[in-house]
Symmetry: C2
Subunit: 312 residues, 2 copies
DNA sequence: GCGGCATTATGCCGGAAAGGCATCGCGGCG
DNA sequence: CGCCGCGATGCCTTTCCGGCATAATGCCGC
């Protein structure tokens, strides 16, 4: 027995609405006998009469009336399913998973989210606060579409591509009343003996790599006073004088006026905030997010109009 | 361009679940090339790639993953629609409209509803408190499936059929302390001069026809004291002594112990409670209700276990 | 690096089934 | 009683789905 197809439903709905096989056949642009047989087949498949044929007009049976509602709903749902699939393919619906380095993206992320929401309102963004290593793994295993992080080493990329979004100079954040806060810049020798509050080594290995390299050039080793696992707690520690913070300039955004940021002199290589992705499977939606992040880079961050989006 | 059919969805779901065209073709009991082409046609119709074919295995695209969910839901819904139509045709789902004469059916209706609910739990019963005339009209215009009422005249039926459910003797309901309440029966002459409280003529014309005929045989005319539009108010009036009530015995059910019922002697023709229906379009569900009412006639009313159903 | 093995895609053919055309049967209406 | 509108039937054509054989492709192991 041939199964029920959407064609049967389309034909049945037409007949049920016009209550006339001939007119329905015209609307469907098929001949009346073809229509009659399709309806007959449908009824045979259901073993249920759906229409009572009268010489004057057709009439719905009770089962037919119920089935009409179902058929209409089904056809509409099918239509929506098709539209939805197309919208997903165009990157107008769906969801993307974006990994981000929390303290490095405080400036960019809100802007990118805002402009992405304008570009693709139907796409849900799932944010994942991850370490660089986790992001690269997630991208490799296709669990992430995009990673926002400090530029990783070439060999860690393993086929992934990246795009530069922003650069931040390295500097020192310290309380405004600190003795070094008077100058406009800070030289490394000035802080070689100062206690430092730093990101925890376990979660931010590349931060420590950067620190080590920084001090190695002057032959010194940093004096690590405390480790913290997040920027806010780092800032709080620095604010109460537990030590200085060496960090990219974007930390100043988080600190507000509580810490003063002084770039290092001579300037070391700047921290590069990049978007990492797998060029093989960059979906439309992920591409739009990348574009939004790019725009957020060109347009300086707007301090108003960002209340609708926040990380997590 | 050929439209999307359920077949495409069935095929796609199979491939998406197994992620392997060959295996899916086996499950679907078609050859692999046929399956491949159907999927290709589906993707062409959507203009959306749903699967990424790898030599090792197939993989869903993002749009494919979304569409898979929709396709599953659609197929299940279609299946349910078919089952629903069949259930309606079998009289296991749906609704029926039943007209009823309120005071005449107080005994039968609760039992019938109860046993019908057991027989067809999925069928919603819509009750309509109607006069005989309205019921016959509703039945003629196919707005009612069944009417529970006093047996109408043959010419009022106009093609409708009826089935006898119960018969009630005509009698007199009066307060227990009334002087006539001492006997076991009442003869018409005894009440010829008594004031009567009666159903209102407008809403119960056949009741008045019955009254007139009753008295005509003895050459008297009834002395109508008050008209009421419902049994409870009739009973209340009789209870406080405004007059006697001439009514079928089933009124006693409503009155409880407040009135005493005495059958007339010699007994006039008994009131026949019948179910009226259009034999042309007696649906399965309506037939089941009729059967339930029939059973309710055989089995005497159970006084417990009726709380689940009440008129309206 | 190359053959073997899995996978999917392609070409071709036969048959089922949908569509079209002509016609019939059947009520209702004038 | 004949005409008209409607749906059903019979017959033929066309479409397209499915099957078979086979090619193309990417991976793996030796």
């Amino acid at each position: 027995m041939p199964p029920v197809e959407l064609r049967h439903l389309r034909y049945f709905v037409a007949v049920a609405e016009l209550l006339n096989f001939t007119k329905a056949a015209q609307r469907l642009r098929v001949a009346q006998p073809a229509l009659s047989r399709q309806i007959r087949d449908l009824e045979a498949e259901l073993s249920v009469p759906l229409l009572e044929r009268g010489p004057r007009a057709a009439k719905l049976t009770e089962a037919g009336a119920v089935f009409l509602g179902e058929a209409r709903a089904l056809l509409q749902r099918a239509d929506e399913a098709v539209k939805l699939a197309r919208a997903v393919a165009r990157g107008e619906r769906g969801e993307i998973h974006v990994g981000y380095a929390p303290s490095l993206t405080t400036e960019l992320l809100p802007c990118a989210l805002h402009s992405f929401h304008n570009a693709a309102p139907g796409v849900h963004v799932k944010l994942h606060d991850l370490s660089s290593e986790e992001m690269l793994r997630g991208l490799g295993e296709a669990r992430l579409h995009l990673g926002l992080m400090a530029r990783p080493s070439e060999r860690a990329l393993r086929g992934l591509k990246f795009e530069l979004l922003r650069e931040y100079p390295i500097g020192v954040a310290l309380p405004p009343r600190h003795r070094l806060a008077r100058g406009k810049t800070v030289a490394l020798p000035q802080i070689a003996d100062e206690p430092l509050v730093v990101y925890s080594r376990g979660e931010y290995p590349e931060y420590h790599a950067m620190l080590t390299e920084l001090f190695a050039k002057s032959g010194r080793t940093p004096r690590l006073a405390e480790e913290h696992d997040s920027a806010p707690s780092l800032i709080a520690a620095a604010e109460i004088g537990r030590g200085l913070v060496i960090a990219p300039a974007c930390l100043g955004i988080l600190a507000g006026g509580r810490l003063k940021f002084l770039p290092l002199h001579p300037p070391p290589p700047r921290i590069q905030l990049v978007a990492v992705f797998d060029p093989q499977r960059l979906t439309e939606a992920a591409g739009k997010f990348l574009a939004a992040a790019r725009i957020a880079e060109i347009n300086p961050p707007v301090t108003n109009s960002r209340p609708r989006h926040r990380p997590q």
